[in-house]
């Protein structure tokens, strides 16, 4: 008689084997390779922080063959990177992805990796599922997935898999302090689309440095402490010492409020800044820019 424990064991090993065919080793750092997932034919997704060199990247597929890969782009905000390799003779077929609603606290999960030739597995739990959140690098993630699982070599960049063999997301050890987390598949799809289209994730940019100041006992605003004269705000007429009180009629009192407003969708669109200038309320309209590469590097 096959016990339930054996059935569970078989299911886990089969899930690992099935998804493991798409788990690759990425040689883009010294010593131990990192893990990645063949997300689509010819496209590998991994954790951005494991890519330490952008040239001479070699990927080892599950069948042991090596293939050269090029970096498509990286997004430090969500810790995701995409790599391209020559499409295979046997395309992997569509990835079996779990919907966001299927990710629940208490679910049994496997973290797969390939820090070399061999597939590795670790077993754990989804310890908490939270709201959409913004990482300390400013990336927008559709659900906070906190994991109770062991972090071994090759954890970051590997897939989080449920007992049915569905991919829940991409694992990373660096986004949350004190716990491993997974970037949900929905976020991966969105970021991957932007990386393939633009080579980076466009991020709204004004080109000002701001600091919270009290305007009265009740209200606060953001004083402009520096202006990039060639940036969107500088060209739009924002001056040093202006106090920004609103963007598109939405009050702002913290630089994070501005950041939250400047998502990818805002790039190229006009934004009306409510200002207090020399004691008078006024407004200027600027065109939101895309954060320049140098700025992005600084925020990595």
């Amino acid at each position: 008689m096959v016990s339930m424990l054996q059935t569970l064991s078989d299911n886990l090993a089969t899930a690992a084997e099935r998804v493991g065919r798409r788990v690759v080793a990425i040689r883009a750092r010294r010593r131990i390779p990192s893990s990645g997932i063949l997300w689509r034919d010819g496209v590998v997704v991994t954790a951005q922080h494991t890519i330490q060199r952008e040239e001479d990247i070699v990927i080892t597929l599950s069948d042991g063959t090596d293939a050269p890969a090029t970096l498509v782009g990286r997004d430090p905000g969500t810790d995701l990177a995409a790599l391209r390799l020559a499409p295979t003779n046997a395309p992997p077929g569509p990835l079996d992805v779990a919907p966001l609603e299927a990710i629940r606290a208490g679910s049994l999960v496997l973290a797969l990796g390939r820090p070399g030739a061999e597939l590795t597995a670790a077993l754990g739990l989804v310890s908490a599922v939270g709201e959409p959140w913004r990482t300390w690098h400013g990336g927008r993630i559709d659900r906070l997935i906190r994991l109770d699982i062991g972090i071994y070599d090759g954890f970051s960049g590997g897939p989080l898999v449920d007992a049915e063999g569905r991919v829940l997301g991409v694992n990373t050890s660096t986004l949350l302090r004190g716990a491993p987390t997974a970037i949900p598949a929905a976020t991966v799809e969105r970021v991957l689309g932007q990386l393939l289209e633009h080579g980076h994730v466009p991020t709204g940019y004004l080109g000002v440095g701001m600091q919270t100041v009290a305007l009265s006992e009740q209200s606060t605003g953001l004083m402009v402490m520096s202006v990039d004269p060639a940036g969107p705000a500088g060209r739009g007429g924002v001056l040093l010492g202006d106090v920004i009180t609103a963007i598109d009629d939405k009050a702002v009192s913290d630089p994070a409020d501005v950041l939250a407003h400047l998502d990818a969708g805002q790039v190229g669109k006009p934004a009306r800044l409510g200002l207090v200038r020399a004691g008078q309320s006024t407004s200027v309209t600027v065109t939101v820019g895309d954060r320049p590469i140098a700025e992005r590097r600084r925020r990595r």
Binding site: S3, M4, L5, Q6, T7, L8, S9, D10, L12, A13, T14, A15, A16, E17, G20, L110, L112, E118, L119, T120, A121, A122, L123, G150, Y152, D153
Partner: protein, 182 residues
């Protein structure tokens, strides 16, 4: 099927493993575990459990304690063979799995005596399986050394030997067979 079935499966597997696991004491060192490998008198443990001792006390699951003689050790593979005189034929030997390869993600169980606590169970999965070591994602402690690592069916797949980078390392059953043949 319910999770209660799963829990009873686990405790049944642990009970079966406990019957083939012994406690090994040497006069100076602490406690280790061992597995009744083939016949009632052939017990396998780690070389580091017995150290340089020629004899040790073997405590069986049924409560009996016998004197064991260290027949052979292999420091390189961290294995030792202990023979017990007159253990009786009623002592069960472990059911082993030494041919079917282990798959990453398979459930594994370990039994040992951490910090003097007899017959403690740890559960996890196969992290990776190589010829030299089985790497298991489960939480081991001192006292698990020399004890069994078993699959979900309770078949012994290796002898737990050490912890490295948080992973349990076990000597594969096939390597134990090779050691016994040598």
């Amino acid at each position: 099927m319910s999770t209660a079935d799963l829990a009873s499966d686990v405790s049944r597997a642990a009970d079966a493993l406990r019957r083939v696991t012994v406690e090994i004491r040497t006069n100076r060192r602490g406690l280790g575990a061992g597995v009744v490998w083939r016949e009632p008198r052939a017990i396998v443990t780690n070389a580091h459990v017995v150290g340089t001792h020629q004899t040790c006390a073997v405590h069986f699951a049924d409560g009996r304690t016998k004197e064991g003689r260290v027949v052979r050790t292999n420091e390189n593979r961290d294995l030792a063979l202990i023979e017990v005189a007159g253990a009786g034929d009623d002592v069960e030997a472990a059911v082993r799995r030494d041919t079917t390869p282990l798959r990453a993600g398979e459930v594994v169980l370990a039994l040992g005596h951490p910090f003097g606590m007899s017959g403690a169970l740890a559960i996890g999965v196969v992290h990776a399986s190589g010829e030299r070591w089985i790497q298991a994602d489960l939480r081991l402690a001192p006292g698990f050394s020399g004890g069994p690592l078993a699959d979900a069916a309770g078949r012994v797949v290796g002898i737990n030997a050490m912890v490295a980078h948080g992973l349990g390392l076990a000597v594969p059953a096939a390597a134990v067979e090779e050691f016994l043949r040598a």
